[in-house]
Symmetry: C2
Subunit: 247 residues, 2 copies
């Protein structure tokens, strides 16, 4: 088989947590070996596409296949790294399935960093950062991504705002603007973040503080009440179209 | 309590399948009675917000509460009907949870009609129309909607295109345009539809047919591969911003 046929026939994409390069040997974790050899029934010589979030995507072949581990042999690069714009998504964790969904969608839509925040009306006291990170990895594997956004630990919104990085702008989805035509207008490009509130909305204190921030741009997402997960995808679309890499 | 306090304290919104008006008695189904009286523990005199998808939202009070039924007494209108734009969403049904999600999101985002279609690469042979319709109702109940989009029966895409209604335009999300800047541009307002393909994409025959249609507008949803459910929300956002009621 030629590498081109291999690339086409390689149905499996795998994120590996080590820098990749042509000719390199890639050790597999027990979970990866189980997935490739027991679940997907791959054997020596079978092709897999691998990416490390930094070096792009490579064609690789199974070199050793075992029950508890194995190795891949990394061949040519098949795609360069496609980094997302410098966009962070802040969101208030909600019910488990919808939080998973927000992380998955943020990875698909091209956020560079995913940051759960605790707001006045957020119930979540903690998150399972490793589980959410795994969702971001899976979204990249499934959707042909070469980059995996980092999922941060849960932080308080007040702490985030108090230590806001200089030069980063904030698109703040203000549900009290529903029905008003508030868009990004001609806001400048550069480092940005999006903030999605919890199901119960922001508290008055939070909203007043957000509105007073010089780097915050309040935006309306139409006349309807959107669930937080819907608002996340809609906000990412609005931003990517206006200031991101959709143009 | 004044009606205003009632409106605020009425946490429950209920879709009822009969035309509403002030002074009207609203019979409850067995399921509705179970939900209101056994699950939510409401009793006589307690407030509920009701909507019928046609007449707007009304404040109502429990008149009779039984184990297998009951009635509400409909008081004043609290909100007028907020109909969505004349936008239909065609999509190829995918895995159950993601199909449910597309229906929920279409109802939230303001689609007037939701139409599952069978494409060359769609696995689904049938859908549970009643179950999907219930998801659209629940989305309207949860998100303050006063309108419920109709979920249509599964149709073949070829049949849909062969009997396309005159004057309706089609925003067709063409994943082969990924990375190109193809937007709605200055497309005219009026009746529209969005078509989202299945996970496997459209077949070449389908894509060629779609491209040749005089009413079709191919659009790109950015440089990344999106899952069908993500593409649905992104496409609804793009359309609502450009031609819908988000302005």
């Amino acid at each position: 088989m030629t590498p081109m046929n291999d690339t086409r026939s390689a149905k499996i994409r795998l994120y590996v947590d080590q820098p990749l390069g042509q000719g390199q040997t890639v050790p597999l974790s027990r979970e990866q070996a189980h997935y490739l050899f027991s679940v997907m029934r791959l054997g020596p010589g079978d092709p897999v596409l691998v990416f490390d979030g930094v070096s792009g995507e490579f064609l690789a072949h199974v070199a050793e296949a075992g029950k508890k581990g194995g190795t891949l042999a990394c061949a040519a690069q098949t795609r360069p790294l496609q980094p997302p714009p410098d966009l962070w998504l802040f969101f208030a964790p909600i019910k488990k399935a919808r939080t998973d969904f927000i992380v998955e969608k943020a990875a698909e839509m091209g956020a560079a960093r995913i940051c759960p925040v605790q707001t006045d009306f957020t119930n979540a006291e903690r998150i399972r950062r490793d589980r959410l990170q795994a969702h971001a990895v899976e979204a990249a594997e499934q959707c042909g991504g070469t980059f995996v956004p980092e999922v941060c630990d849960l932080q308080r919104l007040s702490d985030v705002l108090a230590s806001w990085p200089a030069g980063r702008r904030l698109m703040f989805c203000d549900e009290t603007l529903a029905g008003q035509a508030r868009t990004l207008g001609d806001a400048p490009r550069g480092p940005w973040a999006i903030l999605i509130g919890p199901e119960g909305g922001f508290s008055d204190a939070e909203r007043n503080r957000l509105r007073a921030l010089p780097f915050a741009h309040p935006v309306s997402l139409g006349p309807r009440v959107l669930r937080a997960d819907t608002a996340a995808v809609a906000a990412l679309t609005v931003w990517q179209q206006a200031l991101g890499d959709w143009g």
